[in-house]
Symmetry: C2
Subunit: 165 residues, 2 copies
DNA sequence: GTTACTGCAAACGATTTGCAAGTGG
DNA sequence: CCACTTGCAAATCGTTTGCAGTAAC
């Protein structure tokens, strides 16, 4: 299953490189394979580690950045910038998903909602050719709701300030 | 109209500061006012410039960052990280909007779609209390579509690579 | 008067860039 | 063999932090 996807995205990359007369370097293909072996969100760091440890194929930071940029351009990867960190994600055949982000603790959860997907696809655009979306829904997760209730119950002179430490 | 909103958000800020025993500094209120005087997206830079030039009230970078973080926490401001730049936006009573982003030229357009808003509000969540969303729809804008058609028509050995200069 | 807030400058971390060496076509 | 890619290290950029002075309460 996943191997199917890997083969498909590899073909997309190959086609693009040939069409545009770019080089088919082992780095590019190995990085693509590694990306499609990661589960969910990952950082550049983690990708580099996987390449070094599991693939025995260390790649420089610069090349990681270059290749990720290429894959993003090809829409084989999406990039999220949460709070402080940047996370990447393989996105072929998964262009369309929603992230629930808790504004208290920063926890990110993925959700799928066909209703939302349909509504976005139906959304009228003036000659704009849609081919994917990212949705971030902000709010308070259940455990933070509980914390807040407990906190307010205690009286509100507590100094719950910026730093949550 | 806009003055109404300004008054409302000012009250929200005041209430928060009093409740949490934080100080009501002129910086905080002036920054809030400036934020709600900006049109659409703005950068930290632009906000600082407005404060300096139009308000005659220069504020340090550190304070801008601190205050924006506070306003984001209060959901009076949202922060977008596009490609390379970070943009902020006043968002009271405007929690819900969609951005169309062209993956070729990077142009960002705002769109409003009641269908999408409804679908997201109806989206089921497991005890997650939603209070706003941001939607990024990726695709190709009309002028880039035209460019591409012209480009492919000319023959595809042209080296249209990374740098668009 | 106390303590939080501000401004400054230094520190920091993530990303980009310049250049020499390597390698795909 | 040419020039695109890579790797390295230095440069750059946005953001955070530490500290001393200032002002809110």
């Amino acid at each position: 299953m996943r191997e199917n996807i890997k083969a498909t995205v590899k073909n997309i990359l190959t086609a693009y490189l040939e069409l545009n007369k770019h080089r088919k370097t082992p780095e590019r293909f190995t990085i693509l394979d590694a990306v499609y072996s990661m589960d969910g969100h990952f950082s550049l760091e983690e990708l580099g580690d996987k390449l070094t440890n599991e693939y025995n194929f260390p790649v420089s930071r610069a090349t990681l950045y270059n290749t990720l940029r290429l894959l993003i351009k090809l829409r084989l990867v999406v990039c999220h910038r949460f709070q402080s960190t940047t996370k990447y994600e393989a996105c072929f055949d998964n262009n369309s998903h929603c992230h629930q982000i808790c504004t208290m603790c920063g926890k990110v959860t993925e959700v799928k909602s066909q209703g939302v997907i349909d509504a976005i696809n139906k959304m009228p655009t003036r000659r704009f050719h849609k081919d994917g979306f990212t949705l971030y829904v902000y709010g308070i997760c259940s455990s933070c709701q509980t914390k807040m209730r407990r906190h307010t119950a205690k009286g509100n002179e507590t100094k719950k300030v910026q730093k949550s430490k």
